[in-house]
Structures are given as C-alpha cells and as structure tokens.
C-alpha cells in the first residue's frame, strides 16, 4: 500500500506550484527586460550626443526619490511575508504599506511623464524620447500589474483566505514584487545617467 502511494505521488517540489510558476514567469520577464535594455544600449551607443540637443533633461533627483520609495516598498513586502507567519493582521499592515509606496512611485512617475510631455519629450520627438517611454513605460505597466495583484492578495489576507499553515502563501507575490523593485535601479542607472 505504502509502496503504491510512493509510486503514484512521485517526487514533489520543495516550493509550491504557485512559487514555481512565478519563478518561470520571472525568468521570461527577465529576458524581456534584458532585450529592451540591450536595444537601448545599442541605440545609445550609436548616438554621439546623448541626450540629444534640444531635448529636455530627465529629472534625476525627483526620480531618485521615487526610486527610494520603490526600494522601501521592496523591504516592506519582504516584511509582510515574514509577518504572514505571525498573524494576518501584521501581514495586512505591511501589505498596505507596500501598496501605498508602490502607488506613490507610480504617481510620481506619472507626474514626471506629464512634465516631460509638456517640455516636448514624446515617443516621436526623438530616439531619446522613444527609448525612454518604452523602457520606463514597460516597467510602469509591470508596477501597475503588481499593484493590482498586491491589492487582491491583501484583500484575501484580510478576509483570512489563506489557511493556517500555508506560510508561503505570500511567496509568489513577494517574488514578483521584489523582481519589479530590483529591475528599476538598473533602468534608472541606464536611462537617467
């Protein structure tokens, strides 16, 4: 009886199916961003003056502050996962903080884009503008998706949707959020400097 169960169940992964699927998804996302970064690096190397004359300069300090907020949200997401082992109330509090920090990052980025467009930097104004909006916009869309997923996870945590003993219920969400956070400093260093 015991031997037949061992044969049918087979070897199991040390992580949940959700975490494993998220790892595969992050792998494809990493390739996607590396492709964009590679295109940016090659295009930038072809241009003698970067940023081109007549185009507005990107706000390094203001974006530095929003970078700090996003990094802080990564830390709070990490804390949320740690706290999920101690009780749903603590975990929900840290998830809320993460969502607020992520939303603040998006709002600051939106305000920055509005100013850039007013100053004449659009996707068609130059290669500089096109690469800026593609790279930063792709990341912004990922933050929007991560924020939506985070709000769903938070609502589920508050309702008690994750049963006791599922300590790694927040692991896939944490993995994705930390990936989105980790990609941004690379983009910031490449595009803004």
């Amino acid at each position: 009886m015991e031997s037949s169960r061992a044969v049918t169940s087979g070897p199991s992964l040390p992580v949940s199916n959700g975490a494993f699927a998220m790892a595969l998804f992050i792998a494809s996302e990493a390739m996607f961003f590396t492709g964009l970064i590679s295109a940016f690096v090659v295009l930038r190397a072809q241009t003698l003056d970067w940023p081109p004359a007549g185009q507005p300069r990107l706000p390094v300090v203001a974006t530095g502050f929003s970078t700090f907020l996003l990094l802080l949200s990564g830390w709070s997401m990490f804390r949320a996962r740690l706290m999920s082992r101690q009780g749903r109330g603590h975990s929900a509090k840290w998830l809320t903080l993460t969502a607020v920090l992520g939303a603040s990052f998006l709002l600051l980025q939106g305000a920055e884009w509005t100013r850039m467009i007013q100053f004449g930097l659009t996707t068609t104004s130059s290669l500089y503008g096109g690469t800026f909006y593609v790279l930063v916009g792709a990341h912004g869309l990922h933050v929007v998706a991560a924020l939506a997923a985070l709000l769903i996870v938070r609502a589920r945590v508050v309702r008690g949707g994750y049963s006791e003993g599922r300590e790694d219920a927040l692991l896939p969400m944490t993995m994705y959020w930390l990936f989105v956070v980790a990609v941004w400093p690379v983009l910031y260093a490449l595009v803004y400097f």
């Binding site: 040390p14 790892a23 990493a30 390739m31 590396t34 970064i37 590679s38 090659v42 930038r44």
Partner: protein, 94 residues
C-alpha cells in the same frame, strides 16, 4: 477513395520544395546587421556586450533558480535521529 502512393507523395513534396526554392530567386537582399548604420567602436562593443549578456542570461537564470530549489530541497530533508544506545535497548532475560 483514391489511395496516394509513396511516389506521388514524394513528387508532391519535391514540387513544394521547388516552389519554395523558386521564391528565393525573386527575393531581394535583406540587411540584418543591427550595427551597420554606425561603424563606431562604441556601437560594436555595445552590440557584442549585449549579445553576450542575452546569451548568458538564460544560463544565469537557470543556475539561480536551480540553486534555490536545490537549497530548499536540501534543507527540507529531515535530519536522521540520534543512534540507539545500548542502554536504551530493552533487557532480555536469558
């Protein structure tokens, strides 16, 4: 129902291959060099650097996740209990 013979299938495949090859006679040259518009040293270095990065990244990702899974599976294996000491064994009367 008509049965297709082996020779007919072979002839059909050959005709398709011939048509495919004939299309290439009318095709114009395609410029696939992504750095041909700029011949500077910086462009060449950027092109080679990013090509190497894109080639190595899948291996890096596999190694990272493989190492992570290996570490998790290694840590999840229960450690063997303490060995039986002779004093704990039940005494058997002779």
């Amino acid at each position: 129902m008509r049965v297709t013979t082996h020779a007919e299938r072979l002839l059909r495949t050959a005709l398709f291959a011939l048509c495919g090859w004939a299309v290439t006679l009318f095709a114009r040259n395609a410029l696939a060099c992504s750095v041909c518009i700029s011949a500077t040293e910086e462009t060449r270095e950027a092109y080679y650097g990013t090509t190497i990065l894109l080639m190595l990244l899948p291996f890096l990702i596999l190694a990272t996740f493989g190492g992570w899974l290996y570490r998790l599976s290694r840590d999840s294996v229960p450690s063997p209990g303490p060995p039986h000491e002779p004093s704990q064994l039940p005494e058997v009367d002779a």
